[in-house]
Amino acid sequence: MYNAISSNIWKSFALVAFFVALITGIGYVFAHALESPAILPIAVVVAVISSVGSYYYSDRMVLAVSHAHPATREEHAHLINSVEGLALAAGLPAPSIYVIDDPSPNAFATGRDPKHAVICVTTGLMEKLNRIELEGVIGHEMSHIKDYDIRLMALVAVLAGTVVLMSDWMIRSFWFRGRRDNRNGNAIFVLLALVLALLSPLAATVIQLAVSRNREYLADAEGAMLTRYPEGLASALEKIDQAPEPLKEASKATAHLFIANPLKKTDGFLSSLFSTHPPIEERIRRLRTM
């Protein structure tokens, strides 16, 4: 368990560092091609501004979109006790607990930091899983909160947004400038910049999804650490995978928050590259070999 945790943390660092280096490189090339050094800082500022709102209100937004209602002690005593217990194990304040009425078993965690955190589960999850499996899932969600994963994914979204903005700007200015400034050395940069502008949004998305998958593995490992029982989460993931119905209230925008991909599954290498979650078989295998 300890090894899985530390290797995942290193991978996160590596991915984000690579992303930042990529952005700096692209920014440099674009700035030369357009002879405008302002492109990188402006793109960063715009990307930050457009992400700030959704990051700050991430908890309320997702809850509203998913039609979740707060859990009550009368109806969900066991859920509340489990969440409070795992919060104690993680050394965190207990997050707010919400419930979605849906037969599809799933759960998510959101909130910008542990003090404003929310854990939400579906009624399907509580019905289909036994107590140990439920604690495995809650441990996974608690780990997302403990690791500030929402904050990290917001940062990565800003990075990806920066790349997209810069590429967009690059293509537009090339379109409108035409061939006015045609120095030889500049032409190479312009060509390189165009290629990058077309490919880098794709690369940014791939990196963003790679970080998301990496954090899922990390949350699995740390969740197993909290419960000291990886089999609980492994068994829960098996049951969740076998459930036939997709989650009604999930959309592409919120899909990455859930513990298992709530939209219909597709197989194949390309789809796994563009998936927010790692394949469930691999997650279960890693848990069972901890």
Partner: protein, 186 residues
């Protein structure tokens, strides 16, 4: 001229050493305070369990009026907890409470009307949840102790720890008697 450079270099090294010492010292303080906080969290849960017991005893008495032995055990265990002054005695009292509660719930199995009583079911869930929380709180306490002890033992922080009197802390363990299986008599 050369002495000026050497002097600056020496001062820089000293400044860095002082900053590093402050950093390590503060880190040790944070880790130590986490341990104390974690310990008091265990107490909070133990207190919660203690407070739930009278309600439970009354509910069970309403159905199982003749099970005097079990009620006495629970009452004694509770009294032992208030009387305990040393840490060892407190640990002993907590174990007594755990065993008494297990006997009480085992006895309740024989009374189906009691088991269907809503208040009893609520108390059962609350006590079971509290037992889990006690276990999780102890687990977290041990995690904080491990983190602190590892930092104290590692080089170079062990020099600071030794200099400022940071001592290793003990893990929470179960006493031998608590490891034995609980004997339940009907």
């Amino acid at each position: 001229m050369a002495t000026g450079v050497v002097l600056t270099g020496v001062l820089a090294v000293i400044a860095l050493a002082v900053l590093w010492t402050i950093f390590i010292y503060n880190r040790l303080v944070v880790l130590r305070n986490r341990i104390d906080n974690a310990w008091s969290q265990i107490d909070v849960q133990l207190r919660r369990r203690y407070d739930l017991i009278p309600n439970l005893v009354e509910t069970v008495k309403g159905y199982a009026t003749h099970e005097k032995e079990v009620f006495e055990k629970v009452t004694q265990a509770r009294a032992a907890m208030t009387a305990a002054t040393t840490v060892a005695a407190q640990g002993e009292a907590q174990n007594q409470i755990t065993q008494a509660l297990k006997s009480l719930f085992a006895v309740a199995e024989a009374y189906p009307e009691l088991k269907a009583n809503e208040n009893f079911m609520m108390l059962q869930e609350e006590l079971s949840g509290t037992e889990s929380k006690i276990a999780y709180a102890r687990q977290f306490y041990n995690d904080t102790v491990m983190s602190y002890n590892t930092t104290i033992q590692s080089f170079p922080a062990n020099t600071i720890a030794g200099a400022f009197g940071f001592k290793e802390r003990e893990y929470f363990t179960m006493e031998e008697s608590a490891r034995e299986p609980i004997k339940v008599k009907f």
